[in-house]
Symmetry: C2
Subunit: 377 residues, 2 copies
């Protein structure tokens, strides 16, 4: 224990030093906090998740045909190209809010309805109905998705406003979902986040820059696929459970995120390990067993956000997870995992999927191109 605390303090000193250096130079930081917009793949996917996000889904207006869609995507690409670099949009009515970029990314996705409109086959299909789903129309579906992420909430608000203003003559807003993670600088980069239920979330994520990541997330043409699901946390009953029950449900220690068979978060779970009475240490129905995927190419990239909205008069939270995962092939990667979880995940007692949507994510573009060009022209 003494050893632990000494190591903790030492590491703490170094890490805090880095934080202290990284924080004061706000102006200087702005230069470092621009995420490139152009490239073969869209930003906002392999990008280390920013602190704030809004996902906005649109329904196309009746008269928005293929030509109109191309005009819209030219316009929105131009907005994204400027805003992500900390510059005002072309007809920006609040140009003062365009800087700092605060690692702003704007990522576009096309739903099945968009492909139907242009009479083209959709790369993504609406998910099958899972037994646990209690989907509300107001959080479900959408023809066009824009994921806006930045480390600053005012930057997100401004980008959202510009994008919505330029999209609205082509489409109506179907839903918006706002979410957050730990503020920039609160944790070190790459450290696993906790969600509103207190669990570490995303431990098993493929790591950007590895061959496993590329295999799991990207298709050869630079596209990928996105699932967005709104998962309500039943915090009242979750809080009534004790630590032992919670850890049994998840299969991990709440404090460290280590699997019940290990000591560190990064330890691989030993699903074969048996306890004193011959029962598996990690239950057959524990969340990490049900969600486990052996083949690295079949993993998904969780890029999730917490939500926390109004409180009821009786003091009950409206809180949970904006589950967002990127994967090369939803049907091959996401759907089997979700089926396994729906069948028998202990965590189902405390979470309820209330929204669901799928989108194909077009490839990136260069200075002269626009997002969706290969689909819409």
């Amino acid at each position: 224990m003494a050893e632990l605390s000494r190591r903790g303090l030492l590491t703490g000193g170094v890490a805090a030093g880095v934080v202290a250096l990284a924080r004061p130079a706000a102006a200087q930081a702005a230069a470092e906090t621009v995420v490139p917009f152009h490239g073969p793949r869209q930003a906002g996917i392999a990008t280390e998740p920013q602190a704030h996000a809004v996902f906005v889904a649109f329904d196309l207006r009746e008269d928005t045909d293929k030509d109109a869609l191309a005009r819209m995507m030219r316009l929105l690409t131009d907005d994204a190209r400027r805003l992500t670099q900390g510059r005002p949009a072309l007809a920006d009515t609040e140009p003062e809010l365009a800087s700092p970029a605060a690692r702003l990314t704007v990522t576009f996705g096309f739903g099945p309805g968009l492909y139907a409109r242009i009479k083209a086959p959709s790369p993504v299909k609406v998910l099958p109905k899972f037994s646990v789903d209690k989907l509300d129309k107001k959080w479900t579906g959408g023809d066009l998705l824009v994921q806006i992420c930045a480390d600053d909430p005012l930057t997100v608000a401004h980008a959202l406003r510009m994008i919505v203003k330029d999209a609205r003559s082509f489409a109506t807003v179907r839903w918006t979902q706002r979410g957050f993670r730990r503020a920039a600088g609160t944790q070190s980069a790459g450290q696993t986040q906790r969600n509103v239920m207190g669990q570490m979330d995303g431990t098993g994520n493929p790591k950007p820059g590895t061959p496993e990541f590329d295999l799991a997330v990207w298709r050869p043409d630079g596209t990928t696929q996105l699932v967005v699901r709104r998962i309500k946390a039943e915090l009242e009953t979750w809080d009534a459970a004790d630590v032992v029950a919670k850890e049994f449900t998840i299969g991990r220690k709440l404090s460290t995120g280590a699997p019940l068979t290990g000591t560190k978060e990064t330890d691989a779970p030993d699903f074969a390990a048996k306890g004193a009475h011959g029962f598996p240490v990690i239950s057959e129905y524990a969340h990490i067993r049900r969600a486990h995927v052996g083949d690295p190419s079949l993993r998904i990239l969780r890029r999730v956000y917490n939500y926390d909205e109004g409180v009821t008069s009786q003091g009950h939270a409206d809180s949970g997870l904006i589950f967002a995962s990127y994967q090369a092939d939803i049907e091959r990667q996401f759907t089997p995992i979700q089926k396994q979880l729906a069948e028998a995940d202990l965590l189902n007692e405390w979470i309820t999927p209330i929204g669901s949507a799928v989108f194909a994510i077009p490839k990136g573009c260069d200075e002269k191109g626009w997002i969706g060009q290969e689909v819409l022209s």
Copy 2:
């Protein structure tokens, strides 16, 4: 089950200890980012505004008498004392979320209804009706106010949940309002913030640590008074106005925040200056002229947050300002300013007050005391 729960609590306690040790960067950084809770005045007022806030107002339950109020405030003070220092609340069900504190402050206020309940004279009165008001009951009034601010949104969410859970047997939630400012590190400390309309907001604020601040904000007994108003921004029409019209309305340059008679944000406005045609450079009806207060002891401390909620299907924002101001005496300081603004502020065309509440802010307490002790015992 009793055994299990007790084990649960024990494990929880140990786990919390381990968290503190196992999260070195956070623990060390926390040393820099903890705002002291104890003192003659409550924190969260002179504190440099944090990036995130939630204001939650409660109505007392019918059977909550003076004794119950004292019990409630003991409990909530204990929660605030621990949480603000990055430690779990006593019965914290998500102890892992208690650190880092991220400059968390929890500030308590008492509305007129609380004083009526204990048959004591209220230091604050409901504001007179202003001609511009379109108050919605769901954002107005409240017997008890808790202002929760931190630089991290998950820290705010966790503190809110703990406070609400401990308050709810004594009170129901009347409203919650969530707001944001620029993220920590995005701007340098003390730099004036812009609101969702793009204006700099708070230029004329008294500066903490000056005699003017103490005179304007604090009463001799360490108490102060808080006004919270929800001000909807009419962004559709505001965006339709051009820069000249916007600057004429405000009386300041949008780009620099300088008064129209100056070059720097900090320049004092010259209200006597006349333009080419003999008209005042800063209009008689400009916002900064109407809001101007000559006597420093009559100024107010604006501690405002932006809000940005759902977007309508037609793409219109629900966005504006959570106006929060602290002053020694609402009737002497806030009300005359608001009257002047209501009579003839050009900005009224683009903003609408839709919520309003006033609270007396009790003095601070020491290690053995609790907030509100002098009122409730």
